[in-house]
Structures are given as C-alpha cells and as structure tokens.
Subunit: 348 residues, 2 copies
C-alpha cells in the first residue's frame, strides 16, 4: 500500500512527517510512503537527525501552501505544492491515500477540485473524533462546510456511520443529529428537514436529535451537524476542557493541601488531560472525497503523523470509500424512487 | 416598585415563587409583589409553610401554560394564565417588570404579542449569564431565535452591552461575535454581515469575532450569536462541565488517595461546581421586550426566584429598556442616514 504524505504541512514540518513516516515504515512492512515536499531539506534533516529514508520515496515540490493562503486561489496557483501534487497523484492512482497536516481549507477545496468526490457528494465533510465521557465520538462536519443543505446532513450521517463501523470497528453506530431539543420539530428548517431524511434512511441507526448538553456524555457514536455548528461543538469542547483544567491547576497550586491532592491524583489527572487533548485523537478524515484523505492536526508530532498514516491504512484496507459509495447509492436510489412515486401519484 | 410574579411557573411552583417573594419583601421595603396564579392554592401553601403574605398581592388565574403547550397557541388560548395576565398588566402599566420560571417559549411569544417590543426589535432575544474562567459573560441569543438576520445580531450586541453596563455595572462592556475564526470574512454570510454591522456601531466596544475555544476563557462580556448557536454554546458549557466533574468524581472515589484528595479540595470543588451551575447565575432577561421581563430557570429554588426579582428591580431602577431604546434609535438613525447617502450617491 502506498500512502502519500505531505512533508511540509503543519507546525513541526518537515521533522514530524519524517519521524512519523519512519516509525510507520519500521513497524509496517506492507506500507510504502511517498513523501511530498522540499526534497533537499528533507534529506538534510534526515541525515542530521539520523532518520533512515528506507521505504520513503521523496517527490520534490517547489511550492507550499501556507496557512494564510486563500484556499481556492492556492489550489489553482500553487500547482507544485504537496497538497496539489498529492491529490493529483491520488486521483491518478499513484497512491492509495493522502495524509497532510497542512491547510485544512486547501485540502478541502483541493479534494473537491482535484481528487473529486463520491457520487452524490458535492463537497467532502471534515470529520473528527471528539472526546466524551464514555468514548470518543465522530463529529461530522466539524468545520469544513459552514452552510449545508438537509441532504448534505443526511450524507454526513451515512458516511459517518460507515467510518465508525469500518475504521473504528463500532457495530451499528448510533447516529445523532445535534439539535436544540429532542423533538423532531425542533431547530431551524435545515435541522427539521435533515431529521426527516435521517429518520427515513434505511440501515442507519438514527437515535434522533441529540441535545448539545448530552453530546459530551457520548450517547452517540456519530454526531451530525453543519460545519459552523460543528466548529462550535469542537471548539467549546476544547475551550471548556482547558478552562476547567486551568481552574483545577489553580486549586492544586493554592496551598499545601492542593499540592498533596495533585500528587495523589497525578496519574489520573495526566490521563484526563491527555484524553481531552485533540492531538491524541488522530487525524480528521475528509469524508466524501473519492479516496481516503486524512487531515492531521496542524500541531502534529511525529507520533500524531504516524497515527494519521495508520488511520489512512485502515481506510484503504476496509475499502471505506467503496462502502460509503454503496451506501450513498442506496440513499440516492431510494430518494429517486420516492420522487417518482410522488410524481406518478400527483399525475394520477 | 411593583414586580409581577408568576406563582405557577417552574418545577417548584408555587413554593419557590412564594419563598422568593417573601424573602424579597422582608429585605426590600420599596418592592411590592403581585403574585399571579391559583390564589387558593398559594394561600393554603403560605399558611401551611407559615410564609407571610405581607406585601404580596395575589391575582387569581384560572389557567396555566404547561411546558408541553405550543407557545403561540397557549398565548392565544390561555388568556387567564399568569403569563398572559402578567404580560398584559405590564403592558397596561399595572407593574414595572415581570418574572416567571414558566415556559420560555410562551414568555418569548407573549412578550412580542402582548407586551410588544422596543422600536426596531421584532422579537426579543433571550440572554443569559454563562460561567467562564475569568467572569460570567452574557450570551445573546441563548436560544429564543433559532433563525436571525444580521441586523438582529447587531441589536443583540447593542442590547447586551446596555444590559451588562446597567445591570451588571460593567464599564464599556467588550462585545464579541461568536464565529469560527478571527478574520472578518469567516463564517456564513449572516455572520460576515453581522460583523460589519457591529463594527460600524458607534459607541460599541466590539472586539470582533470570538472563537468558541476562547468563549469559556471570558474574553468578552457579551457574546453575540443566533439562538441556535447560542443554545449549543450554553448547553455545551453545561454538558462539558458535567462531564469533567463526573470524571473527577470517579477519580475521587477510585481509591484512598482519591478520597484524601477530595477531602483536601472539598471547599474549592464545591465552589467550582457551584460556579458551573446555571441555577446560580440568575434569570435570563428577554432583551428587546418593552418592559423588563426575566425568565427564571425552570428548576429555580426560592433563592433563585429572589435573585430574579432583584435582577428585575435593577432593570427598572437603571431604566434598562429606555437606555436600550435610545441606543437602538441611534443605530436606526445612522443606518437610515447611510442608506440615504448611498441612495443620493447612486442617483448622482
């Protein structure tokens, strides 16, 4: 299996991608890595840090998309960037998946424009695993599509369910629609209509609406919403965890009692902090792209890049994209049949 | 000053309203309470619990709006409910403010239909104080208007700023627009347009967008958003606090070390839990209603009702509605002037 890897994306590039790639190669003989980026810089760093390049083919890219580049413009103009080269190679069958810690916007736009999307999907959704009380859940869309139509939310539910089943091994994943009330009639029209579509989707384990208060409790395996709302859920999770952990830190430093308590709880507190850390939960798949594309966190370490590559590997092995396409085809066929019935009935 | 009080709203009615009213009367000789509800039941309870009715005038209501009543329908049909009677009396000058722990939806619809709104406001916004790291902030709208126009978000900012200044005594409150990025161009069109309007509002201390990650840090005194997003922010705050506090509880119960740590931190943990409790932060004002209307939490205790009444008192004393109307008038005058200039320029 050939994984295409952006060597220049993220705060710690090219060191983190290099370390991640080397760690994967060392443990997985079935993976070949194609590293895209400034070949000379990568080679020099590999030598300096004594990281072997065995199993890693380097493809030189003379450009790079920066975080402040306008995504659509960058995709058109920076043809020799790892993002554009990687997605083009993926489209042309020269790799099985693409992993990048670079600009999310460029990866999202590039996936639509270069790699293209599954049939029935106009723009891929960004999904990510978010920590909750019981278990991590998949949030779709967590920020890519600020504006959505009801059928997009339905597709998010279907693709999210496929992902949790194939990649995370959850049998019959519970899908919830984030909404401001349990009743079907709650929320703006987008959410009311999406609720009906999700409810009617065959084979989907749809629990109905999930209120934001219950989202952190982990009652759903997949939480569906538009990208604006998803961003709020994701960032409120981060912000609230940070806020409460900061308050706790204050308690521990306040006096000798606090310090003793901190020592007693040390291991558990470390685990809690780690669990709340978005870096620990892996990369974010772009669901709906024609082939597996994984967006690794911008601040990814070598370990995080390694995990993102292994996530991509599972997507390929389990034929995630094929499974999602089959499920989307079924949804589309059913919708067409319903429309035809409705039109035939109205003509009678 | 005469405060109208719904005696039948909330989970603990009529006991909580009765206790709250009695506590207020005892400490504030300038307040007169008009209690609306089942007079016989209230009198019987007052006698049973030995709560004096001095300073409380009871107005008998034969109906009550329940939580599962459809708000608009209930306002039309239940004319003799505390909500409809209270808002009518307020409109007719038979009271200075209305406090209710009953149905939020009915109070919201009723405020528009019966009491009416300030000039330039179509529907009032529900605002509430939300705990954050540094201090509590005012979230507007926290759930009443799921769909908003850009000028509504502008008005939320203006009214929220007036409220924090007049009622909470914050000088020049910092107003932030909840959005998925710091740049002006971020978010859906609604948020991009609202950003421009808020930026151009004279006298408003607008900090620009505030990312949801920073909302719990308390960087803004007023956080502006549509009611759907506001509900997500409010409920994620609740949910995340509950989740992390539950995990902490697990640590404390796990072993003897945890138990000792819990003992050492007892006071601080209690304070943290209390701080995260929505019940502690008072009632939610319906900003934009013609006179002060305070929605107390459904699970309000006597103390919470007392606090909501005192909140209403401050709104009256500081002429909150008059101040908000003056600020809104200025906004409208400026907008008209801008439109006229633009139209004159286009005709040249």
């Amino acid at each position: 299996m050939k994984i295409l890897l952006d060597m220049m994306g993220g705060d710690n590039a090219p060191l983190a991608p290099l370390e991640g790639a080397a760690q994967v190669i060392k443990a997985h003989s079935d993976i070949e890595i194609v590293g895209l980026g400034d070949e000379q810089a990568v080679r020099a760093l590999a030598q300096e840090k004594n990281i072997p390049l065995t199993g890693i083919t380097l493809v030189n890219c003379t450009q790079n998309i920066e975080m402040d580049d306008e995504p659509a413009l960058a995709i058109r103009r920076k043809k020799d960037s790892p993002t554009v080269v990687g997605l083009s190679m993926l489209r042309d069958g020269e790799g099985d998946a693409f992993v990048s810690a670079g600009s999310t916007g460029a990866l999202h736009v590039g996936s639509s424009l270069i790699l293209r999307t599954l049939k029935g999907i106009k723009r891929p959704a960004l999904a990510c695993m978010v920590p909750s009380k019981e278990k991590n859940y998949l949030l779709v869309d967590c920020g890519a599509n600020a504006e959505c139509r009801p059928d997009m939310l339905q597709a998010f539910g279907i693709m999210g369910s496929c992902y949790m089943n194939k990649v995370n091994g959850v049998a019959d994943p519970v899908v919830g629609l984030a909404n401001n009330g349990a009743e079907e009639t709650k929320g703006p029209p987008l959410y009311q209509q999406a609720h009906q579509l999700l409810k009617e989707t065959p084979g989907l384990n749809f629990m109905g609406n999930i209120e934001p208060r219950d989202v952190p409790m982990g009652y759903a395996d997949v939480v569906v919403c538009d990208g604006f709302t998803g961003n709020v859920i994701l960032k409120m999770t981060e912000g609230m965890a940070k806020m409460i952990l900061t308050i706790l830190k204050g308690m521990f430093k306040k006096n000798i009692g606090g310090m003793i308590a901190a020592l007693l709880l040390k291991k558990d507190l470390f685990a809690l902090k780690k669990r709340m850390d978005s870096e620990e939960v892996g990369g974010a798949p772009l669901l709906g792209a024609k082939c597996p594309v994984i967006k690794a966190h911008g601040s990814s370490s070598g370990k995080a890049i390694k995990n993102a590559i292994l996530q991509a590997k599972t997507c390929v092995e389990k034929d995630l994209c094929g499974t999602m396409q089959a499920a989307l085809n079924e949804m589309n066929a059913r919708q067409k049949a319903t429309e035809q019935t409705a039109s035939a009935e109205s003509q009678e």
